[in-house]
Structures are given as C-alpha cells and as structure tokens.
C-alpha cells in the first residue's frame, strides 16, 4: 500500500509540474492584465508602469524562472487585483468550497447508497420510482434554474431560509440542496445498476436460502461487492465539486473557489489562476489516493 501511494505521489508531482508549466505559458497568451486592470482610457505610461510593477514587462522565460524560484518557497505571488498573496486568496475560498463539497458529497453518498440499494432490491417499487424521478430532474434541469426557483419558493414564498450568503448555517441549506441533485442522480443510478448485478449472484441466493433477512442481505452481504464501480463515480463527482460549483457559488453568493477561478481567468489575474489550479490539483491528487485506499479496503485482491 505504501509503495502504491509513493508511486502515485511521484506521478502526481510530475503531473502538477507539467500542469503549472502549461498554465503559466498558456495564460500569458490570453491577454494583457494591464488592459483589464486599468480603465479603458488609461495612458500608455500607466499601462507600462503597471506591467513594470508586476514584472509583466520582463521576457516570459525570465518571468517563469522567477515564478519557479518563488514557488520553491511556496510563494505563489500576489493577486494583481486584490494586492495580497494569491495563495491566501485561494485558501480562503477553499475554506468555503471544501466543507460545501464534503457535506454535499457525504449526503449524496449516504442517500444514493441507501435509496439505490432499495431501488435495486424492489425494481419498479416506490424507491425505484423515486430514484428515477430525482435522477431525471438532476440530469435535465439546469442548476441555475433550480437555484432561482428554490430562492423564489423557499426564501421569498415560504421564508424558511435566506436567499443567499454564508452568514449562518441556514444559509447553507439551499446551496447544498441544489448542489446535491445532480451527483445524487448519477451516483444513485450507478448504485442501483451495480446492486442489481450483485443481488443476482449465487451467494445472495444461498444467503436467502439460509434465511438471511432483507436488510442485512442488502447492506451487509451485497453492498460491499457492489461498491467498486460506485466509488469510481463518487470520486469523479467529488473531483468536480473540488473544482468549485460556479453556478451555485454565483447565485448564492458563496465565496468558493469556482467563482474565484472564473473571475480570475476573466480578469487575467495569473497568480490566482495558477494558485487555484495547483491547490485544486493537489486536492484531487489526495482524493485519488483516498479512492485507491477505498478500493483496497473493499477488494483485498488490489492490496496484493
């Protein structure tokens, strides 16, 4: 296991470096930050001073070399627009994205496993129909539409929760609820399919013949065998959430990393873009390790 993690870590570090090089050079091809930071009628002298102040007037190779040296000291540079360390800006946003992703994924996983398993056990039954409806809504209704409708119904109409923001725990209800729908719809279908296959295995028939009751049969005997493909999809969905939930963050005023990244790209705030991508890549790398560990726990063959 340790060896596996070590191999993954080395491969991921090489990928991170390659990603950093790629983003550094490609982002600088997309436009001049001075033009976007300064007003449209700024003089050429102001633009030149801005470039000189931020080292943007240097040859790109020299910019890269300086960036690399700073990076070795974990200095991602300052945000051009916010005039403070880019890494600090990104970590502040992550402090909101991470709990949002963790809580949402935890609810998604529990709900999808329970409802998906029950749906597979009684095909065409109540849980199967419920799962189909939620999956269909998740797959077909756009996030922004669900979010706006949720605000109109639950905030303005019923007054149960605030429209947006992060001031109190109640502010988290709508973002989590909206963010829940799409990954739940996907994961629950995978759970259902995987469990359908697992429930038809000969050992399940044997267990039934031996008088094992329904709930232990599903959640003790069968679930573990049906979880391998589910973990892959959960990892995929969690990675998407770690990238930030741009729509949900935008509508609910949630100060997460997704909106920060989009704004930084549009404003050509290179240091924040690079820091955000590196931190996100690191988070996804760590999550992949967790998935590998999960695989090996569920299937001992992988450990060997």
């Amino acid at each position: 296991m340790t060896r596996l993690i070590g191999q993954r870590a080395i491969a991921s570090l090489l990928s991170l470096f390659g990603l950093m090089v790629l983003v550094f050079f490609l982002s600088r091809l997309t436009g001049d930050p001075a033009v976007l930071f300064l007003p449209i009628d700024a003089t050429e002298q102001m633009k030149q001073e801005f470039r000189a102040l931020h080292g943007l007037d240097l040859p790109i190779i020299e910019q890269f070399w300086r960036y690399l040296l700073d990076l070795l000291q974990l200095d991602f540079g300052d945000s051009l627009r916010k005039a403070r360390p880019a890494l600090q800006v990104v970590l502040e946003a992550y402090a909101w994205t991470l709990p949002l992703a963790l809580i949402t994924m935890a609810i998604v996983v529990v709900a999808a496993i329970v409802l998906g398993s029950l749906a597979a056990f009684r095909v065409g039954g109540f849980f199967d129909r419920l799962v189909s409806i939620v999956s269909l809504v998740g797959a077909s209704a756009p996030d922004f539409w669900i979010a706006i409708v949720a605000i109109v119904v639950f905030s303005i109409g019923l007054g149960w929760v605030p429209t947006s923001g992060v001031g109190t725990p109640l502010h988290w209800v709508l973002p989590i609820a909206v963010l829940f729908i799409r990954p739940f719809g996907l994961v629950v279908q995978v759970v259902r399919g995987s469990m359908l296959s697992a429930l038809s295995a000969p050992y399940v028939k044997t267990a039934r013949a031996k008088g094992v009751k329904n709930l232990p049969l599903i959640f003790v005997h069968t679930l573990r065998n049906g979880m391998l493909p589910v973990i892959t999809v959960i990892g995929d969905q969690a990675a998407a959430m770690l990238n930030g939930a741009v729509i949900v963050e935008t509508i609910f005023g949630f100060p997460g990393v997704g909106k920060l990244m989009i704004d930084s790209i549009l404003q050509r705030d290179f240091n924040v873009v690079l820091a955000a991508i590196m931190v996100t890549a690191l988070a996804i790398f760590l999550m992949n390790i967790l998935i590998d560990i999960g695989y090996s726990l569920l299937d001992p063959r992988i450990r060997h």
Partner: protein, 501 residues
C-alpha cells in the same frame, strides 16, 4: 476556518442554529453586483469601489453635483481661486479630523496626490491628469496652491476625483482606509461583506444611517429577491426583468452612452455618405421598450445631457431606409466598395441584451445594403478592437461600445473618443483636434460653447460615429427608505443621502 465551516454546516443539518439578523432600524444593507477587490481610496473612481468609499469613507476637496443642479460644490475645500499661470489656491475646511483622530491639513492633500502619481502603486484616478504635471505649495495648514503644467482650467473639477488620505498613509494599497468622511470601515470579510459605521466625530452633518453593510451577489434576480425578502435595503443594479414593483423599483438615466465606433481608415467607412447611410439605416426607436428598457433615450452626444456644453439643438438621425440605400448607391457609383465586409463587434455582458442589440443592428445594416456580420467577444478581446493600436489588416469594424461620463465635463470623453491621438478614436480630422484642444483649455461660457460646437460638428458635419442610446439603470429600494436613485448612483452611493420614512 475549514473546521469552523464544517461545524457550521453540521449544526445547520441538525437545525440547532437560527440566523441572527437583529439590527438597528437605522442600519441598512446594500447588495452590490460585484465584490470589491480593493478598498483603496485612490481607486474610488472605479464605480464598484466608489459606491462604498467615495464621500462615505473618503472625501474629496470638491464635489460635483452630477444631477446638474448645483454644479461644482465645496467639500473639504471651502473655496478655490484661480491665481493665474495655471495656479489654483484651495482654502481647506478647518477643524476636520480623519477617522483615526488625526487632523486634516494641506500636507494631507499633497500626500494624497503623491500617492496617486507614484509609480509604486497603480491608482486609477491618475488617468484624469494624463500629461498634466501638478506642483503643490503648502501656504499654511488650511491653504494650498496647486500649479498645473500645462494650465488646467478644470483643476477644481479634477479635485472631485481624488480622495484625501492622511500623510501617514503608505504608498501601497491599504486594506484599512482612513478618511475624513462620515463613516469608517469597521469590518471587511473578503468574499462576504464590508461594514461601514457612522462616525460620531464627523465634521459635517451626521447622516441618518448609522451602519451600512455591503453584500455582494452577481445574479441580479438574487439581488432583487434580497430586497423583497427584507435581507437588503438597496440593490443599486438590477435588470429591467426584475424591476416590476413600482413601489420599490426605480428607473433612472445611468450616464452610460452606447454607440458604434466607426474606424474611418478602412473602406467603406471613410466615405461620408456611407457613414450617413449607416446612421439612417438604424431604427433606434425600435430598440426601446423591446430589447432595451423603456426610458432609454436616443443619444445625440457621447455624454449625458447633464454635461457642460450640452447642445440642445441636436436631434438623433432619422430612420430612413430608402435614404440609406440611396446614399450607398451614390457612394457605390463613385467607386466606393459598399459591399466590403463590415464586422459589428460587441462585448458579451456589456449591457443587458447586448447580443440581441448586435443582431438587430446587423439585420438593419444588411437591409440597407451593407455586408455586415456580428462578432461577440469577451472583454479582453473587445479591448483589442476598441483601443489603439487597432489590428493590422482588419476589415471595416463597427465596435459596439458603452461609455460612462458622469464627471460633468466632456473633456473626460472627447479626447479619447474623437481626437486623432485618442485611444479609442476612429477620427482623424484637424478641426476636431483643434476644437478639443481649444475647449479643453477654455473656461466658463467659452468652454461650454466650444464643446457645444464640437458635439454638433462630430454628429452632423463629419458623422464620426453612430450614437445610439443614453442608457437607464434600475434599482430596487426598500419601502422603509427615503431614497431615490439618480444618475449619480452609477458611480457612488452617498449614505448621507439616504433617509428613513
């Protein structure tokens, strides 16, 4: 922070925590469309920063009444006098204190300008001074002489654009702005909110508002919903779609002018008849109340009507499709390639329904006989087409642009848009250059008359561009407030102007 957020989320899930929304009935909440990157006084001319800082935290020597009633008014300067040779003397209001308790004096004024002109930080207000060099002579604590080289006839007006900070302020962007204004910043939680609290030791009249909390939501429907749900009191920018409640929603001219910038150096736009045809082909009235909000006005100048030198005799070009076709035919008969490709370039999200406006413009131009197509671009790409140097080997391009001038004087617009050296100019006309230079140096009635003459010349004589609309903005204001948004709301939101019913 992460653990705190996880705990908060977990508490939410158990329903153990209820929102704490208690506030004084003279506290208000303002929901803005974009978060502030900086709360830096020398960036206060940037509209999203200005709405929080300008005349709330930081004040200026003079103040322009952009509604057009009172003109240039005293603020930190009680009076000013032209001493000749480019020197203006400003008498400062005595007894003013900054929010850190220090006294305001002439040295603070000098230091504020030193910061603006420093190459150690990039202050936005510097752009208004372009090639003008300022020298400061501190006569006494409450008197300062400012000499502009070359002489700057609107120096007192320019003083309304620079906020004053204490002499101790470092020459770098600050995160805790100190000013002489009626409010001080008491909290800034990045990404979430900014809180201003009323000062008890303010030198002027105490505002009715005791505390203002600024929140940031990019979705206009959410901003409007927040006022409706009682979570906010003012949403300065909502869209027409949300502005449906006559009790709370206001429509007002927002000082933005939309126009088509014509680059006259590329065929067929160099021909006057082609430019006249272009203007005649556009049915401006058809946009209003359809893709643009009711209340939008037809533009006859680059600046709004509250600007010095406004020429009331000008009228918008009449829609005349047959006339446009005839003009194009006449140009074609003289060998002008009127079928040369014309790109209409517009910026996504520049203003509501910009894509529909672009599509309609292209249809109207093609109906008249142009060979036009629409190209939607994002902000950085738009800038490459809008500002010099223009791309080499380009076809004829009509750039859909929006320009804001709520500064009261055309000098902030006309050089950039029409002078042959102007950054966004498509014009190269010696008379235009001469008029701009003469008007910029003139004062009083002569200045107004020269600007007025220039407005007429560029619109009627040389048809420099296709002026389209003076835009309107929409705001939602809680019924408990006594506040009516105006043209000033686009740049600043003075809390002292807000009362309670």
């Amino acid at each position: 922070m992460i653990i705190k957020n996880v705990l908060a989320g977990a508490l939410m899930a158990t329903g153990l925590v209820a929102p704490a929304m208690a506030q004084s009935n003279t506290d208000i909440t303002v929901v803005l469309s974009e978060e502030l990157d900086l709360v830096e006084p020398c960036m206060a001319t940037r509209s999203n920063i200005g709405r929080v800082i300008m005349e709330n935290i930081s004040e200026t020597l003079t103040e322009l009444d952009v509604r057009g009633d009172k003109g240039l008014m005293p603020r930190l300067a009680d009076s000013w006098e032209d001493k000749g040779d480019g020197t203006w003397q400003f008498k400062l209001h005595p007894g003013v204190k900054f929010s850190d308790g220090s006294d305001f004096d002439a040295a603070d004024v000098k230091h504020s300008f030193d910061r603006v002109f420093s190459d150690q930080i990039t202050c936005e207000s510097k752009r208004y001074f372009a090639d003008t060099k300022l020298d400061f002579n501190i006569v006494d604590a409450n008197t300062i002489d400012v000499t502009a080289t070359p002489a700057q006839p609107i120096l007192p007006l320019l003083m309304s654009l620079v906020t004053i900070v204490p002499s101790e302020t470092p020459i770098e962007f600050v995160r805790d702005p100190i000013g002489t204004g009626p409010f001080k910043m008491t909290e800034w939680t990045a990404g979430q909110q900014i809180v201003l609290t009323r000062r008890d030791d303010y030198w002027g009249t105490a505002p009715a508002v005791t505390k203002a909390t600024y929140l940031f939501r990019s979705e206009p429907a959410v901003r409007a919903a927040m006022v409706e749900a009682g979570e906010a009191d003012i949403a300065p920018q909502i869209t027409e779609v949300e502005a449906t409640n006559p009790k709370t929603d206001f429509t007002y001219p927002n000082s933005e002018t939309v126009y088509l910038r014509i680059d006259q150096t590329v065929e067929p736009m160099g021909d006057l008849r082609v430019r006249q045809a272009l203007n005649a082909a556009i049915d401006r009235e058809a946009f209003i109340g359809t893709v643009l909000a009711a209340g939008t006005e037809l533009a006859v100048a680059m600046v709004p009507p509250t600007t010095l030198g406004w020429n009331a005799t000008l009228t918008p070009p009449a829609y005349d499709l047959e006339g446009a076709k005839a003009l194009l035919a006449a140009a074609a008969a003289d060998g002008v390639n009127v079928k040369a490709p014309v790109e209409v370039i517009a910026r996504t999200e520049n203003f509501p329904h910009v894509t529909e406006v672009g599509e309609a413009l292209v249809d109207m131009l093609n109906e008249a006989g142009f060979n036009a197509s629409l190209r939607m671009v994002e902000v950085a790409e738009h800038e490459q087409f809008y500002s010099k140097p223009y791309p080499e080997g380009r076809p004829a391009q009509l750039v859909v642009a929006q320009h804001d001038n709520s500064r009261g004087d055309p000098v902030f617009s006309m050089y950039f848009k029409y002078h042959s050296q102007g950054t966004q100019s498509g014009v190269n006309d010696p008379k235009v250059d001469a008029l701009i230079e003469k008007a910029s140096a003139a004062t009083g009635e002569e200045r107004a008359a020269l600007w007025s003459e220039l407005f007429a010349y560029v619109q009627k004589d040389i048809v420099a561009d296709a002026l389209l609309f003076h835009m309107v903005g929409h705001s939602r204001v809680s019924e408990r407030l006594a506040f009516t948004p105006t043209i000033a709301t686009n740049q600043q939101l003075q809390l002292s102007e807000i009362g309670f019913k």
